[in-house]
Amino acid sequence: MSRLQYTLWRLIGIVPVMVLITTFAFFLMRAAPGGPFDKEKALPPEIEKNIRAKYHLDDPLIVQYGRYLFSVMRGDLGPSFKYPNRTVNEIIVESFPVSLKLGLLAMCFALFFGLSAGVISALKQNRWQDYTFMGFALFGVSVPNIVLGPLLVLIFGLWLGWLPVAGWESPVDAVLPTITLGAIYVAYISRISRAGILEVLGQDYVTVARAKGLPQRIVVFRHILRGGLLPVVSFLGPAFASILTGSIVVEKIFHIPGLGQHFVQAALNRDYTLAMGTVIFYALILILLNLVVDLLYTFLDPRVRYE
């Protein structure tokens, strides 16, 4: 199979997966107790009836499902229940870029520091650099962002007053959220890259490279990093996906107007369409990210076969 055929095949495969996910999202949402309109302050029956009619909530469930599935497959996630004048698509288009920006910042942060720490640790195995970085990494993976965020706010925002504690207007606003979101991935990436490089360091082909009399620089960059960082690449897909979903918490902590905030709100409000739409959207992103990583892999590792 050629790479192009493989890609097409994988793209086609997305359709049934998305149908399944849409189905799950739909029925799970409906199975949850409560509805969008049974809040503390109930609406007058007349108005509720009108709204239910407008959103076809009185049709048989299977009809509602069919209609929803059909419109999702056309790329239309429907109107929001809680923001009557806006569609789910509009809300996503408006708020996702904020989440994406935060996610990318966190990813770059994690890659830069994670790779540096991992590479240095591996090349200085069992020396102080290694122990220091791996100590930090252990700390990094054991502190969840829901603790780290407020901690950073406390230290840098409130005590030292160096950085803003919340908001999303100027670039400095991004510093603490980026660190909060990315810290754990700095830790993961440094550990994965360290392990990968150590594995490669023990390979015969690295000794062969040295025996050729190549300068250390070429040995490291051409022979060690290439194979040693491959595990990082396969980690990137899932990592980025969980950074994007992880930003739900961080957006909440720092009051960032991203899709995560909307998702939390939608779930709390039983805004069926917005919650389902967000889930479906995240799922699609996840699947696409995995595809991208798999394709990237076929470029990086010549031994990979397409099945």
Binding site: Y205, V208, R210, A211, G213, L214, R303
Partner: protein, 337 residues
């Protein structure tokens, strides 16, 4: 070749030797203890000659060669004593830059396992040319052409096409040929071949050895050939050293070792070789027992537990060097045979 005489200063022994290894000790400091991987090994190699190093697995053959290249496993391997002189330069005093100049350019090495010795992420062409580009300071295209010629020389069909292959697309025999081509790119004065054929089947083994011999004639190289296989030694080498537990047990010409062995270990090894001429019925006699743990402090002769001739006297100290004939020496306190 003159005998290796411990008491004689190296400078006097061999001015014309390409390589002189003198009382080399290389230890590996592991978490569990010190492995005395190479323990007082001496030999020399004249220009154009082939030296065989034989011995069971773990006897220190590879570590001896890695010491020469300065590539002991890092960070725990260390050359702790002795001298290695290559072209009358003391390798141990060379800077790491100077060692880089020698590796690959003056001394080529073919490694034990062709399946793991090529980088799976790089094309054959890149792996062939990269050393040449660095050492000869030539343009990529020139190195590329030279590499194609070299692949031709080692008998790889469609060399030009093969340059773009990745290692996993080649068979074991082809990979080993590529490894040899890599080692020969810069026409080194010394080729170290560490069991270049042990991973290959017999017909390919023979081809590769033939190839090495003919390339040696063409390029006037010296070769150190490491192997378990005495048959290969007999067919290719001029001098042999027999190693056991990091030490040299016996050293001499091929004829000395095969027809006039003096050391019980050598005799044991020879008896374990299937002879081609006769007695196919007669079962092989591998030497009973296992080599000693190199982390333990070995008193006396390391072969003692497995030796049929040993007695309490052998445990006193490591046997003195004895000379059978000029150029034939061994380390056993008994007169065997």
């Amino acid at each position: 070749m003159r005998s290796i005489q411990k008491w004689m200063p190296v400078e006097l022994v061999m001015a014309d030797s390409l390589l002189v290894v003198d009382r080399l000790k290389s230890y590996i400091y592991t978490r569990y203890g010190v492995v005395r991987a190479v323990n007082d090994v001496s030999f020399e190699l004249a220009e154009g000659d082939t030296l065989g190093i034989v011995g069971e697995s773990g006897s220190g053959k590879s570590m001896t060669c890695m010491s020469i290249l300065g590539l002991l496993p890092q960070p725990f391997g260390k050359m702790v004593a002795g001298r290695i002189r290559f072209r009358n330069e003391d390798l141990h005093t060379q800077s790491s830059r100077q060692m880089q100049q020698i590796r690959g350019k003056e001394i080529g090495m073919v490694f034990q396992d062709p399946m793991t010795s090529l980088n799976p992420f790089l094309t054959v062409g890149t792996q062939l040319t990269e050393g040449y580009v660095v050492h000869q300071q030539v343009a990529k295209q020139e190195a590329w052409q030279h590499a194609i010629d070299m692949l031709d020389k080692v008998g790889i069909p469609e060399a030009e096409k093969r340059m773009l292959s990745y290692p996993h697309e080649l068979s074991g025999g082809m990979r080993q040929r590529v490894m040899i081509a890599i080692a020969l790119m810069c026409s080194p004065a010394l080729l170290i071949a560490d069991e270049p054929t042990s991973a290959l089947d017999v017909t390919i083994q023979a081809q590769i050895l033939e190839l090495l011999k003919s390339l040696q004639r063409q390029m006037k190289m010296s070769i150190i050939l490491i192997t378990h296989d005495l048959g290969i030694v007999a067919a290719t080498c001029k001098q042999v050293i027999v190693m056991y537990a990091g030490r040299v047990m016996e050293a001499g010409s091929v004829d000395d070792i095969f027809y006039r062995p003096k050391h019980p270990y050598t005799i044991g090894l020879l008896q374990s070789v299937p002879s081609l001429e006769a007695d196919r019925e007669k079962p092989l006699q591998p030497i009973d027992g296992n080599p000693p743990d190199l982390m333990a402090d070995i008193q006396g002769c390391p072969f003692h537990p497995r030796c049929a001739y040993g007695d309490a006297a052998c445990l006193q100290e490591f046997p003195q060097q004895r000379t059978a004939t000029t150029g034939h020496s061994f380390y056993c306190c008994k007169d065997v045979e």
